[in-house]
């Protein structure tokens, strides 16, 4: 084997020009494979990240089953009223909430010395701590959870307070990321500050602009519950805050809010699924688990809502926002299904792109292979006498076959190596000069090399077999 390799290298160096031309052809073929696979993979990865980043991995679980945008499925809406009335006998439904809140605020104002909690609760069972535990620990493919609770609270009488009543909004560390908060000024709260229930707050930019116009809200504070909550950050929440300026919203650690409101439950829990593909499954599992925990009979509607995030995602991929809104307002399965259709067609497009490029690469590899075949045929013809001599000296058919196969494979593999280098340069240019997205996978590189060697085998076999099956007498007479 080693001697065959030496022989092959020797014979290649003896046909230097031909060999290097063939090498060129071969390496261009392999370089094409490398570049094309790099580009194709890059495109596919880009599509994947687009799908991942824009796609719905966020699942929102809310107590109550009203539909915020009013486009609800018939039947579902109807049943909610009856359902709620049953669950909260004597309490008002959603429609009365604002009134109920105002009444509570009035009551609170009368006893302004202590923070008082507005008595209004979600018109359905709030989400309990054990349900939070269920979501964060017992459902598979959940990457993160974050809960929130909010309520109006009367502030301590302090001259620094710009208002008398504020809406405290307790949140957990993952919340800002899930809600897509944008930091305008200062910072968010650290995990530690959340865990220690630090007396710090983050406020919406609208609130900052309203109460501290023309100056920074940082280091200003709210006094409530006997503590001073320093403002450390100003954020844009992406939600419409104009309606909550009279009673400004302030974000504080969940623990603090729960204590202040004396409500150790959640209004809303956000769940991040491990990947886009898992979102439907996770949402379905959450719904089933909650129904199970709440022991809801089969013929009863949910008294909670599980929704996926697509309102934001869909328009970013070019869908008509109205469609997105309609989809959003509709059932989760539809939302998810249309999302997945879109993702599927995007992936399909990426794959088609890769296939198209790959076939071009395959053609150039084929051309390289034909080059190998050509040089091998020439080599066999030119060396017929040598083959005859070797046979006379005892070379068996398989020895001759091996000699020429090793030569063809060596040629192809050398071309392959050169092609790898060439391909790497090509990818580098594509990435850094043309700014295309590329991705290099070691598997692809291996495949390119193996393909090069396979080309040698396939295209070398014909000429090698021709050499091996020569009649020694005829070969010896050749000139």
């Amino acid at each position: 084997m080693l001697t065959n390799l030496q022989l092959a290298l020797k014979s290649l160096t003896q046909n230097r020009l031909q060999a290097s031309l063939t090498l060129c052809g071969m390496s261009i073929g392999v370089a094409m494979v490398v570049v094309v696979s790099g580009l194709g993979l890059g495109a596919q990865q880009q599509i994947e990240t687009q799908i991942e980043s824009a796609g719905p991995t966020l699942i929102t679980v809310r107590s109550g089953n009203f539909r915020p945008l009013g486009i609800a499925m018939a039947g579902q809406q109807d049943s909610s009223g009856g359902e709620l009335a049953e669950g909260f006998a004597g309490e008002a439904g959603y429609g009365d909430q604002s009134f109920e809140e105002n009444a509570a605020m009035l009551a609170a104002r009368q006893r302004a010395t202590k923070p008082k909690v507005s008595k209004v609760r979600s018109p359905a069972w709030p989400l309990r701590p054990d349900e939070m535990t269920l979501l964060s620990q017992n459902i598979g493919d959940v990457r993160a959870t974050a809960g929130s609770v909010s309520g109006n609270i009367t502030l301590d009488p302090a001259p620094t307070n710009p208002v008398r009543i504020a809406k405290v909004y307790g949140f957990q560390p993952a919340w800002p990321e899930m809600k897509g908060w944008q930091l305008i000024e200062g910072r968010l709260l650290t995990e530690r500050e959340h865990a220690q229930a630090a007396s710090l707050t983050v406020i919406p930019v609208e609130v900052a602009a309203r109460y501290w116009p023309g100056e920074s809200a940082l280091e200003k504070s709210f006094a409530l519950g006997g503590d001073t909550y320093e403002i450390v950050g100003v954020v844009r929440t992406g939600e419409d805050m104009t309606n909550s300026l009279i009673v400004p919203t302030i974000f504080i650690p969940l623990q603090q809010a729960q204590d202040l409101l004396d409500q150790h439950t959640f209004d809303e829990i956000n769940v991040r699924s491990a990947s886009v593909g898992k979102t439907t499954e996770v949402a379905t599992n959450i719904r089933a688990a909650l129904r199970n925990l709440r022991e809801l009979p089969d013929d009863t509607m949910d008294d909670f809502r599980v929704e996926t995030q697509s309102l934001n995602a869909m328009p970013s991929l070019g869908t008509d926002p109205r469609l997105a809104r309609a989809v959003h307002a509709n059932i989760i399965e539809f939302e998810q299904a249309s999302w997945e259709e879109m993702a599927t067609s995007l992936r399909q497009a990426g794959r088609t792109f890769t296939y198209l490029l790959s076939s071009a690469a395959a053609v150039s590899l084929l051309v390289g292979g034909i080059g190998v075949m050509n040089i091998m045929l020439v080599s066999v013809t030119a060396r017929t006498r040598e083959i005859g001599l070797r046979m006379a000296l005892g070379a068996r058919m398989k020895d001759v076959l091996a000699q020429f196969m090793v030569e063809a494979i060596t040629l192809a593999a050398l071309g392959g190596l050169a092609g790898l280098v060439l391909g790497a340069i090509g990818l580098y240019i594509a990435q850094n000069v043309l700014h295309w997205t590329t991705a290099v996978s070691p598997v692809m590189l291996l495949i390119a090399i193996v393909m090069a060697a396979a080309t040698g085998v396939i295209f070398g076999f014909g000429p090698a077999r021709r050499a091996a099956s020569l009649d020694p007498v005829v070969a010896l007479k050749a000139e």
């Binding site: 046979m391 000296l393 005892g394 070379a395 068996r396 020694p472």
Partner: protein, 247 residues
């Protein structure tokens, strides 16, 4: 009497060219004992090379039997024939047939590459150098054929034929490409070789002077042996009258 190296009986070789049949050998019977130095002569086209190809297991007989070292080789596979050529026969050709751009040593090593069991590289090299030494070419071991004279090239070829210690050397017109003097040197080399090793040599030539070196001379014509006689007076090795003696 020891067993003959070659034992042929009524060997025929017919080439079929379409409807045409060429009878290259028409019934050759021949026994050659170990240690004989047989020269075969004949006109061009008489069938000398055809006979030699059969003797060398490069070709098969069309009819008749051929035993090499008491073994019938007419029904062996290509692979078995290759092994026999490798182990038992050393070829010397008219055109030397050395691999170009390859050193003398490497050329001599070629038969060893195909020997089974495998011979390690170091041992191959040793054997090749020993064979070259026997041919008086130790100082040319690393030379390429293009750097050697015709006579030296043919001696490298003889070294290659010897390297695997065969029982038979087959030479087809080994002096055909050499001038008279060099041809005589090569013949002398073969004579010495036979003297020292007792190897059997079969040599084809159309020159009577070269044929005269044999201990037995066979002539063939039209595919048949027409004469086969012992040569009782092989030429005294011509230590050719020293050139210095010539005024």
């Amino acid at each position: 009497m020891s067993k003959p190296v070659i034992s042929m009986h009524d060997v025929k070789k017919i080439y079929e060219l379409g409807d045409n049949k060429v009878h290259a050998l028409r019934g050759v019977s021949l026994d050659i004992e170990p240690g004989e130095f047989v020269t075969i002569t004949g006109a061009s086209g008489s069938g000398k090379s055809t006979l030699m190809h059969i003797l060398g297991c490069l070709d098969r007989v069309s009819a008749g039997t051929f035993k090499l070292n008491d073994k019938d080789v007419s029904n062996l596979s290509r692979e078995e024939l290759a092994n026999i050529r490798n182990k038992q026969i050393g070829f010397v050709f008219q055109g030397f047939n050395l691999l170009p751009r390859t050193t003398a040593t490497e050329n001599v090593e070629v038969p060893l590459l195909y020997s089974r069991p495998l011979i390690p590289a170091v041992e191959r090299k040793e054997k090749a150098l020993r064979a070259l030494e026997k041919m008086g070419l130790s100082d040319r071991a690393d030379h390429h054929p293009s750097q050697l004279s015709g006579g030296q090239q043919q001696r490298v070829a003889i070294a290659r034929a010897l390297v695997n210690e065969p029982s038979l050397i087959l030479a087809d017109e080994p002096t055909g490409n050499l001038d008279t003097k060099t041809g005589q040197d090569v013949m002398q080399t073969l004579l010495d070789l036979r003297e020292s090793t007792g190897i059997t040599i079969i040599l084809i030539t159309h020159e009577p002077e070269i044929a005269a070196y044999g201990s037995r001379i066979i002539s063939i014509r039209d595919g048949l042996i027409v004469s086969d006689q012992a040569n009782t007076r092989p030429p005294i090795p011509t230590e050719s009258p020293s050139l210095a003696a010539v005024p």
